[in-house]
Amino acid sequence: MSPRPLIGGGPLWALALAPLLALTLLSAPAGAQEATPAAPAAAQGAAAQTPATAAAEAAREARLEELRYQHMWVAFGAVWLVLFVFVRQTYARSAAVSARLDELKGRLALLEGREGREGREGAGANGGARREEG
């Protein structure tokens, strides 16, 4: 089987590299510590909260909640996308190779049929010649 070309090697190729590229671009340097979104703002102290800070805190929490839902949906979308692309690509390849196999088997049967006929005809001609000689 001849090597397949690098470009057009299937969607799995792009799918495999995209997350790694994204990770490299978006990753934080080692040791960098951001405040975790899940961490409560308890350090400020509940007693010290004014209505303004409480409102800001509520808005921040609402943004975080929205972000969590967004990430959850994107993650589930990614799971489905990967499975769908993989299954689709497998079926497409299976259909293509089945068609090729059928075509090759047809050509082989035709060739063997022709050779068999020629062989029989050849044998028949030789037999006739032997009878004439006799």
């Binding site: 495999a16 790694l20 839902y69 990430h71 390849r93 090759l104």
Partner: protein, 211 residues
């Protein structure tokens, strides 16, 4: 059946399981992230086992199984490396950290991505098969390092999480469904590789016959 199982797993992860207190909705990613990681390991281990058999016995079907298992393992690896950062951003505030579990997992993925690239684009000759098989056999032990990364090198990645009973039900149900999907995909892919080899052999026979 597998599609119905996937819908059932989604129902468990979205509806049946209660909302986790700290990470809230983002925690639901866990029910697909962890089974995908385990099946990614299974795929790579299966690839290494079949590759070892191929190196010992030189039978084409072992090589076809190794390639099929690596491809499915990589698909689950893509799921792990996509859902992981999405979960990390919501839980830790960063997409990625160069901590031991994540780094070793990325290395493991890259080793088998190399295997797949070599096998897909390097032709299907015996030396390429043997080279790929050796790479898979030597790359698979990295799974051990991924597994022990959190305890040995004190990483940030969660490990041995205590789950509520309902969460355990959802996790193991999703794992079961993913195992069925994994088995089906490996079987499908294995058949495709065997058929491709049969077609290549038939094509060579026809060219010898001069057709």
């Amino acid at each position: 059946m597998a599609a119905a199982g996937l819908f059932w797993a989604h129902w468990l992860a979205f509806v049946y399981v209660p909302m986790e207190g700290t990470m809230r909705a983002a925690q639901r990613i866990f029910y697909f992230h962890l089974p995908s990681a385990w099946l990614c390991y299974v795929g790579f281990l299966l690839c290494a086992g079949a590759s070892l058999l191929y190196l010992l016995k030189q039978q084409s079907r072992h090589d076809a199984l190794a390639l099929a298992a690596a491809e499915v393992g990589l698909a689950f690896g893509v799921i792990v490396l996509t859902t992981g950062p999405l979960w990390a951003r919501a839980a830790w505030g960063v997409w990625w950290r160069w901590e031991p579990r994540l780094t070793t997992m990325a290395v493991l993925f890259l080793i088998f991505a190399c295997y797949w690239l070599i096998r897909s684009f390097g032709g299907d000759s015996a030396p390429v098969r043997k080279f790929g098989a050796a790479l898979a056999v030597l790359g698979a032990p990295n799974i051990f390092f991924v597994h022990v990364a959190v305890t040995r090198w004190r990483g940030d990645h969660p490990n041995n999480i205590q789950l509520e009973p309902s969460m355990r039900v959802a996790l193991y149900s999703t794992l079961l469904v993913f195992m069925v999907v994994f088995g089906l995909l490996v079987r499908l892919r294995y058949r495709v590789h065997l058929e491709e080899r049969a077609a290549a052999a038939l094509s060579r026979r026809l060219s010898r016959l001069g057709a």
